[in-house]
Amino acid sequence: MNRINQKLQEDKKLISIYFTAGYPNLNDTTTIIKNLEKSGVDMIEIGLPFSDPLADGPTIQASSTQALKNGMTTEVLFNQLQDIRKSVSIPLIIMGYFNPILQYGVEAFCKRCQEIGIDGLILPDLPVDVFVEQYKATFEKYGLINVFLITPQTSDERIRYIDSVSNGFIYMVSSASTTGAKLGFGEEQTNYFKRIADLNLNNPQIVGFGISNHKTFNQATQYAKGAIIGSAFVKFIKKSPLDNIENFIPTISIG
């Protein structure tokens, strides 16, 4: 069974962390992953940086620009991850934009992911219908789970369609926004979280965008299976040595 599906069966709220590969320094990737696992994180999204990250706010944009300046490329990332499964067992997901993957070759990319032990992909600008028509078979061939996004504006009908083509979890974008920390979630978000929970989807939902602390994590996971922290973590490692990663997680999971 795919590590993501296994993890989703655990009886707990999951913490998933996003970081941009190649940031703050080119070769921090594996240290960040190992330290995150040590600190109790359930799942990791490794950001493959892109020059024009349309769905991202200033923090992840800046980290992507810096990572590319540092020399991060698809090949460099794969090389860094080559031996990661010797020491890390939690699910690893690559999150990125579609163009770098298209240029690498979708099949070659998926194959490499499987060899390394990547469990899934999140590609915000690969539309659901294009995925289903052109790439679903390839992803399945290499045992990769593709994760789709939904937002407060996504209709119930479309959510059910997305649910029907998903086989891991649904990435629930917390509000209509690019990535980045929010001050907190209001009634509108809570209603949305509840509305989705009431749909009783086949795939569990994990909430992302705007989760930065214990409060927002708890709000997000009241109805959902877990939450993803991105910008807040990227900001944290900008300022703190990688050894301090263990101090970050308690700010999210313990009150």
């Binding site: 024009d52 349309l54 490329t73 770098p100 996504t154 974008v173």
Partner: protein
């Protein structure tokens, strides 16, 4: 071979809507409605009325006598520079603001390079009383100062894009991010034949008034239905798409596209996408774009802010790929010389974008009885300082 968009939003292999889910409801709403709305008699009536009384259409098709003598062929200039606000861009913004109104939107966003699209958007927002926010690269804000002042006077908020190359590509990124953050009340008026489906087709249709007019104007002047060649500069490709539209399926009409070569195609400072680009995804559509082997979008360069874009619209990628279009590029120097030449032979100061199209004669010799229609996409008032600095006037 078809040069029209198919029902899935592709021109051949190019096009589509590669957008994050956050944009799906907006783009889908537009996709479902744009054709329906465009054929409504009340829409048509209002659109045509505004084009006539407000924009000043039809724009003249002017026989350029001295230029024709010099290049030994028959040159007509399609005078989009005489439109209200000084370029073809207003054809599209009139259409899109009416579309936005029909869809109940109250807030308008746009990106701009040369500032012509920004001005055209700010203008129609003033006309309709809608809030207007224009994203513009920091570098373009500096090199197109007169247009920034116009937008401000028209009541628009001009927001600098400070990432990447600080030009049109980055302004477009910021506009898209704004749209993600404002999914309900906002319409994004894209200024060129780019972006996710249905934008390339919608913009092309609004701009197609250009080739529609050329058809009957040529009939009047030459008793011919179509020219031998149509020529246009290509940034994203909206003036070109509008100039080609009614001739796409007529093999008797040669289609010529001129891109910006900047300092030269191989100089590393260029925006000649067909020569330097590969298929990929930019701003929600599959098309030709300039990128690294690794799929990172590269920063283009052109003296002309409106052509300083690392992609072309999917229609143009298709015209290039199928060989239907002849693609050339003009360097900064070629364009500036061609701009000065038009000024001194015909008394028309063109926009620097447009001047690239006029550099076609460096690349191609036409026959004496060929009829060559060039899209004079905009006037050069906004570029005076650049011309003055370049020629030490």
């Amino acid at each position: 071979m078809s040069y029209n968009i198919n029902e899935k939003g592709y021109y051949g292999e190019f096009g589509g809507a590669f957008i994050p889910e956050m944009l799906y409801p907006n783009v889908e709403e537009l996709r479902q409605n744009y054709l329906k709305v465009m054929v409504e008699p009340s829409f048509q009536k209002q659109f045509n009325q505004l084009l006539k009384d407000y924009v000043g259409r039809p724009s003249p098709l002017y026989f350029a006598n001295r230029l024709s003598k010099k290049y030994q062929t028959k040159i007509y200039l399609k005078r989009e520079d005489l439109n209200h606000t000084g370029a073809h861009k207003i054809n599209n913004t009139i259409g899109q603001i009416l579309m936005a109104k029909r869809l109940g939107k109250t807030r308008i966003i746009a990106e701009t390079g040369a500032g012509q699209h920004g001005v055209a958007t700010a203008t129609v927002c003033a006309l309709m009383g809608l809030e207007c926010i224009v994203y513009m690269g920091e570098i373009d804000i500096a090199r197109q100062a007169p247009n920034v002042a116009r937008m401000k006077m028209l009541g628009a908020r001009v927001v600098p894009a400070t990432s990447g190359s600080k030009t049109l590509k980055d302004a477009t990124n910021e506009a898209i991010r704004d749209w993600i953050n404002n999914p309900e009340n906002t319409h994004y008026i894209i200024g060129s034949a780019i972006g996710p489906h249905p934008y390339p087709d919608m913009v092309t249709r609004f701009q197609s008034v250009i080739s529609e007019e050329i058809t009957w104007q040529l009939k009047e002047k030459e008793n011919r239905e179509y020219p031998d060649y149509v020529v246009a500069c290509i940034g994203g490709g909206s003036n070109a798409a509008g100039t080609y539209y009614h001739f796409l399926d007529n093999k008797g009409v040669g289609i010529i596209a001129i891109e910006a070569a900047g300092k030269g195609i191989d100089s590393g400072k260029s925006a000649a996408t067909s020569a330097l680009g590969k298929a990929g995804i930019i701003h929600g559509c599959k098309t030709l774009l300039m990128q690294t082997n690794d799929g990172q979008i590269t920063e283009p360069y052109s003296i002309s802010a409106g052509l300083d874009y690392p992609g072309v619209g999917p229609l143009h990628a298709h015209l290039y790929k199928t060989g239907r279009g002849e693609f050339y590029s003009a360097t900064d120097d070629d364009a500036m010389q061609a701009g000065l030449e038009l000024t001194q032979l015909e008394g028309i100061i063109p926009a620097i974008e447009t001047a690239h199209a006029l550099a076609v004669f460096k690349h191609k010799t036409f026959k004496p009885d060929d009829i060559v229609v060039i899209s004079l996409s905009g006037r050069g008032d906004k570029d005076l300082q650049n011309y003055i600095d370049y020629f030490n006037l």
